[in-house]
């Protein structure tokens, strides 16, 4: 009776020993193959990684999550994320803050590609969740204004953090910078930060011209009129000829020149034949 465990132990040991050489050969063979095929893999991987921001995340946890969802779900990511967003809407209607927040994270973890999820998610965090928290604390009438402001600022910072995360997946995206600027302006009331973000939005490829105009408007609001004028003077030649927005910019230049009492000799003169409509390099 007592010899049975000893026998089974020795059987296992013999079994492992008999397989060990085969295991070594298999591991050695795969390692050799991996080393040889690294020559093919390395250049391909460099190109692919440059194309897909999800594959070059700094955080190992986030990168692992993306690796698994990308690999196992593949194209299903889109439909899984869409259904998660629908579920999120149900929770949003119920004003369930923790569940909405969880699904907001989940939906972008499953599929970080659509901007829709990031931008609308940031809006929900900054605006809706602020209202929910104030309502939960007793409503706008009973919660002191200072506390309302504090809640709004907390939510705004969370939303900006989400947008910063979005920028790791969508670098050089104007819509994300516009959204950030809107939150900084309307929630944090940080005009200087919003002005800087609108400028960053305009600097991105395909950045909207209105972001450049808003940058100037906010500089004006900050009392930095000379800076605003210099900005608009630099902007105007880059706008399309005959466009309504181009005329608005010229009008604002004239207003600022009047405010700053710029002598007629030094006032801005549009290029002959109107602005060429070219945008600066990198745009």
């Amino acid at each position: 009776m007592s010899s049975r465990p000893v026998r089974s132990q020795s059987t296992v040991s013999a079994n492992v020993k008999s397989r060990l050489p085969a295991l070594v050969v298999i591991i050695g063979g795969l390692a050799l193959t991996g080393a040889l095929l690294r020559l093919v893999e390395a250049p391909l991987w460099t190109v692919l990684r440059a194309e897909q921001p999800a594959l070059r995340l700094d955080s190992t946890g986030a990168a692992a999550g993306q690796g698994v969802t990308l690999g196992l779900l593949g194209g299903f990511r889109a439909i899984v994320a869409d259904f998660t967003w629908l579920r999120l809407h149900v929770l949003w209607e119920q004003r369930d803050l923790p569940a909405t927040d969880t699904l907001l994270r989940l939906v972008t973890a499953v599929d970080p590609r659509p901007l829709y999820f990031w931008v609308n998610g940031a809006r929900i965090i900054a605006f809706d969740m602020t209202a929910w928290r104030i309502a939960a604390a007793g409503g706008y009438d009973s919660v002191p204004e200072a506390r309302q402001e504090r809640i709004g600022a907390e939510q705004a910072r969370l939303a900006i953090r989400r947008l910063e995360e979005a920028m790791t997946f969508h670098p050089a995206n104007a819509a994300l910078w516009v959204e950030r600027a809107n939150i900084e302006l309307n929630r944090l009331h940080d005009v200087a930060a919003a002005a800087a973000s609108y400028r960053r939005a305009w600097e991105q490829p395909g950045g909207p011209d209105y972001a450049a105009r808003l940058h100037a408007e906010l500089l004006k609001r900050l009392g930095r009129k000379a800076e605003a004028l210099a900005w608009l003077v630099q902007l105007h030649p880059q706008l399309p000829t005959g466009d309504e927005a181009t005329e608005i910019v010229l009008g604002r230049i004239r207003d600022l020149e009047k405010d700053l009492q710029v002598p007629a000799a030094r006032s801005y003169r549009p290029p002959p034949g109107g602005p060429p409509g070219a945008k600066p390099g990198g745009r």
């Binding site: 397989r19 085969a22 295991l23 050969v25 298999i26 591991i27 063979g29 795969l30 390692a31 050799l32 193959t33 991996g34 080393a35 040889l36 095929l37 690294r38 093919v40 893999e41 250049p43 391909l44 991987w45 190109v47 692919l48 990684r49 194309e51 897909q52 594959l55 190992t60 990168a63 692992a64 690796g67 698994v68 990308l70 690999g71 196992l72 779900l73 593949g74 194209g75 299903f76 990511r77 889109a78 439909i79 994320a81 869409d82 259904f83 967003w85 629908l86 590609r113 659509p114 901007l115 829709y116 999820f117």
Partner: protein, 278 residues
């Protein structure tokens, strides 16, 4: 008794038989029908699409079905078709005849690769038809959105389907390698899925081996990075439907990469199977 030379004909016959056997399996029919109906009914999911262009959404769904159900089919079918021969003792009968073990493994592999190919061809064909029909109706509804006519290149669809098949072929070779020394079908299936996950995260192991903190962690990560292929390289379907042409040189490089791993894993499976007692 004289030893017969290695015969590709025998390997092909075993492969044909494997394919036939697979086609009779309920699992194959179930996964194939599920994937086909999902792709065929993809337009029904359009209302649930947020943010992505419609054709991209349809293409994503199609290749998602191919990758997801294809991987499940490949791992399960490889394990099942290999172990059915062992458990039903047909392998003993077959190998008692002048048939090389290498021919048996090659035949099994060819059969499974053919199963994966049939799956990918059917799904790619159906996806192409769905996309063609939808693009046609979009062209009629919104001609201004298509100033240069059709935007989908069907050669790109085929290339993406082919690369998906290459990935399944590598996965099949690795699952067969596991099956060659494994004692149970369940162990093979579970390990096959682990291999699938590890291969998708292989690039993280490479990163960790380059930037890891401890020497031990770097060594372990380096070993994983060396032993497993990088399945993220096979992710070509991202380009389809997004207006980005499929880079054909990448398709060629991925083919070489996949072939290298298939040959290596196949040869090691033969070596391991020759040492095995049936």
């Amino acid at each position: 008794m004289t030893r017969v030379p290695f015969s590709f004909t025998r390997a092909r016959l075993i492969g044909q038989n494997t394919l036939l056997e697979a086609s009779r399996q309920k699992l194959f029919s179930f996964l194939l029908l599920l994937a086909l109906s999902l792709v065929a009914g993809a337009q029904g999911f359009r209302d649930f699409n947020f943010g992505a262009p419609e054709l991209k959404f349809l293409a994503d769904l199609g290749y998602g079905a191919m990758a997801f159900f294809g991987a499940a089919l490949t791992v399960a079918a490889t394990a099942q078709l290999f172990f059915s021969e062992i458990e039903n003792r047909t392998a003993l009968t077959l190998l008692a005849k002048p048939v090389w073990r290498a021919e048996f493994i090659l035949g099994k592999y060819l059969g499974i690769a053919a199963v994966a190919a049939v799956f990918c061809v059917l799904l790619t064909g159906l996806l192409a038809a769905v996309l063609w029909a939808r693009e046609g109706s979009l062209l009629t509804e919104f001609p201004e959105a298509f100033p240069h006519g059709r935007t989908l290149h069907f050669a790109d669809l085929v290339a993406a389907g082919y690369v998906q098949w290459l990935k399944l072929a590598v996965l099949a070779a690795f699952t067969l390698l596991v099956a060659s020394f494994s004692q149970t079908q369940l162990y093979t299936v579970v390990t096959g899925f682990f291999v699938l996950v590890i291969c998708h995260l292989q690039y993280l192991a490479q990163d960790a081996s380059a930037r890891g903190d401890s020497v031990f962690a770097r060594a372990v990560a380096g070993a994983i990075g060396l032993l497993f292929p990088n399945f993220q390289l096979f992710n070509l379907a991202e380009n389809v439907g997004a207006g980005v042409a499929v880079p054909w040189d990448r398709v060629a490089h991925v083919s070489v990469y996949a072939l290298g791993y298939v040959v290596a894993a196949g040869a090691l499976a033969v070596y391991s199977f020759r040492k095995r007692e049936i």
